[in-house]
């Protein structure tokens, strides 16, 4: 068993049975078939396009479009070019996808954690939500939001207005009484529970604790409700309209106008972020050295929110809100969000949140039970266990499918075409294609945009996955 055999000539096989030759042959055949198919398609397309007078170049890009778009993030009008229409559509797609991703992530994580909650109501709600929304087509949901909820809303003159809530200093003694009742019931419940020694008292105590909590909650709700809208002397007032209206022409919001001195607020915000970062580093070092924890969240909140707020008041309130005002049959001023945008955003966020919730649940369940038990044994409560031990480990499992859900949301935003939101597909692949007839170019450009977004995101994801990969055991 040595070099003699290795040097021997390969056994003589017929050429057709030689694996290397067969491989080359198969590849050559594949390439031949694919290339000739593509060539035939291109050739046919050229002939057909010439016969039908379809443009074959990008000359249309700089021509005047002649149509208007009802939501534009950049300057655009009917005298703009088709190229500008493309950018309008692309920006609208990115806008709805970006905001949708934020909403879907927040809701999805909340639902995913709720689905694993020990509480029956939370668990059931999340389960019903997920199983309902992910088993109904997104298009149906979009049409429902748009045609069954938003379109039948009243006209501007009968808009639904959100009332403002104002807070005044509490001066009613009964509020204190309600608070005391709530607190008393709460502590009575805790006391009753801690005193349970035998079975009968255990039962009594648990019933008492439950009753106590219910009494405490009712007292709190009652306390709050008594003082909502109570004339004078209340805590919370439902005041006049807050400048937020919903009608069949969309959602109207106050338009913030930034006056001189606003740069000080921005500077304070930047300072707050920088200081809280520095505090975070200091706190981490201190914890590593001494084990003492610092109230990082509170301090950061105070720095990031408090400093700009101080600057805001010091600069004399440089932001004024321009409220939408009803004039005649429609509103003037304010920001108007198209009902199509609202419907698309609602549909995309709620639908994708159901999928994200499932990914989060799967990720959390992938973390071994021993991790939770060890954290409990160390004395961590449920919330810190989730935040410090379980979620960081679950994130590694959640992140890849989460990115693909983000991509799905971005791709699904093309369903805008069904309800008339001017996204890339509706503006470019719809109107521009119809007006110019340049089918091949327009479809190719649209697909290239989505393809770029997809491939860039999965590329970044692969990079991240390689950096955070677990060391194999």
């Amino acid at each position: 068993m040595s070099g003699g055999e290795q040097g021997a000539a390969r056994p003589q096989v017929p050429l057709l049975h030689d694996p290397r030759f067969r491989g080359i042959l198969a590849q050559a055949l594949t390439a031949l078939v694919v290339i000739s198919l593509i060539w035939a398609a291109v050739d046919n397309a050229a002939t057909n396009m010439r016969a039908r007078g379809i443009p074959t170049n990008f000359d249309f890009w700089d021509r005047t479009s002649g149509f208007d778009v009802n939501q534009t993030l950049i300057a655009y009008s009917a005298i703009s070019t088709y190229g500008q229409a493309f950018w309008v559509g692309l920006l609208n797609t990115l806008l709805v996808a970006g905001i949708g991703i934020v909403f879907a992530t927040l809701l999805g994580f909340l639902l995913g954690v709720m689905r694993l909650s020990a509480n029956w109501a939370a668990r059931s709600f999340a389960a019903i939500y997920v199983e309902t929304l992910r088993n109904v087509p997104l298009l149906l949901q979009l049409l429902f939001w748009y045609n069954a909820i938003l379109t039948p809303l009243p006209a501007p003159r009968a808009s639904l207005g959100m009332p403002s809530v104002t807070l005044t200093w509490p001066d009613a003694p009964s509020f204190a009484l309600a608070l005391a009742a709530a607190g008393g019931a709460f502590f009575a419940a805790r006391f009753a529970r801690s005193r349970a020694e035998d079975d009968a008292r255990e039962l009594l105590a648990s019933v008492g604790a439950a009753l106590g909590w219910i009494v405490a909650l009712v007292a709190l709700l009652f306390g709050a409700s008594v003082f909502i809208g109570a004339p004078g002397g209340g805590v919370l007032h439902w005041g006049g309209p807050a400048g937020v209206y919903l009608n069949n022409r969309g959602l109207l919001l106050p338009d913030p106008r930034f006056g001189p001195g606003f740069e000080w607020v921005m500077a304070a915000l930047a300072l707050g972020v920088a200081l809280s970062l520095a505090f975070g580093i200091w706190a981490r070092r201190r914890q590593a050295l001494s084990g003492a924890q610092s109230p990082l969240a509170l301090v950061s909140l105070a720095l990031i929110l408090g400093l700009p707020l101080l600057a805001f008041f010091a600069a004399g309130g440089p932001v004024t809100l321009e409220y939408p005002v009803l004039r005649g049959f429609n509103f003037q001023g304010g920001v108007r969000v198209l009902p199509e945008f609202v419907a698309l955003l609602l549909g995309l966020s709620l639908y994708t949140a159901a999928f994200i919730a499932e990914e989060v649940r799967a990720g959390v369940q992938s973390v071994a039970r021993g991790q939770t038990e060890a954290a409990h044994a160390l004395g961590l409560r449920a919330a810190p266990t989730l935040r410090l031990v379980v979620l960081p480990q679950a994130m590694r499992v959640i992140l890849p499918p989460l990115t693909s859900q983000y991509l799905n949301l971005t791709k699904n935003s093309s369903l805008a075409v069904f309800i008339g939101y001017p996204d890339l597909v509706q503006v470019f692949m719809g109107t521009v294609l119809n007006q110019t007839g340049a089918a091949v170019q327009v479809i190719a450009v649209t697909m290239a945009v989505y393809l770029t977004i997809s491939l860039a995101t999965s590329g970044l994801m692969a990079l991240y996955a390689r950096r955070t990969a677990w060391a194999e055991r």
Partner: protein, 378 residues
Amino acid sequence: MAERTTPSFLRTEPSPVLPPPVFAGGAVKWVRENMLAGPGSALFTLVGLAFIVWATPGLVRHLILDAVWTSPDGVACRAPGAGACWSFIARKLEFFLYASYPRDMVWRVNLCLAMGAVLAVWLLWPGAARKGLGAALFFIVYPVAALVLLHGSEALGLPKAPTDLWGGIFLSMIVATVGIVFSLPGGVLLALGRRSRLPVVRFFATLFIEFVRGVPFITVLFMANTMLPLFVPASWSPDRLVRPLVGVSLFASAYMAEVVRAGLQAIPRGQTEGAMALGLSYWKMMRLIILPQALTVVIPGIVGIFIGLFKDTTLVAVVGIPDFLRTVETARLDPAWAGPTISTTGYLFAGAFYWVFCFGMSRYSLMMERRLAAGRKR
């Protein structure tokens, strides 16, 4: 050192055994753990119960008590306080099912749907006999038979029913079935191509899969609709229904390929090596050893693709194909039925239809997952 101090108390007999806790189990325990585990939990329970108490009467009234069950037109549904308009669904049901398909020929549609249902149950029933025959019937015989039946054939004495009359639920079923029938073999071929050791084959398969998965389904449909007629000689311009079906097949194949690839990767290398040691050729090895195992592993993933495909059939409306959801949209806008509850009733019905199918499929996939895991449990 010093003498031992006597302890002030020394237990000489074991303390009495406590009786087992009576309330550590059963309903009391469940309620305590699941509804009243703490203040936050109690709040959630209270809000949940309050919501149920608040929402149930209104829902029951809207859906059952105040609903309009029998009415020849929309007048009763327009009455103030009227609930869901179920008679709208009942009167439009035929339209939802067949759209404009000639009414004297709908037996052909029904026959196709029944054959499809029988074959689907045969294939999906765990442990059903002769699945190979069932698969051959479903993937080869059934599509041809259904096409002849639905489209008509002069030779068989079946009058033609042009595709622009097709629509409704049966068209949605056609789109879904075509997607399923083409995506499985297409997906397997693409997955094998992507895992092939031949670089040219791998390149083309990867290019196709990544391209199709990177773009929205609507753009694939647009492409199939407007570019397919350009890519073939003008004389064989495809039928307006065939174009989106090609798009659906390509799209579903690319997604199926990734699921099948996951299954192929899950099969240990020893299986390949064993098959090669036995002298099996590539195709024999795949057909007899690798694919049966790989496809079984990914049954849940395959069903997941089918669920997505079934939901995505609604998008063919973008190229003018009147699928089920489009017929609901058309019926909803019928002036004879115009009313404040028509839209919600229509969407509720459509939602229930899609939900029953998709939820059923996902339960089926869960059941299969459990059955498959049974063999690997320790």
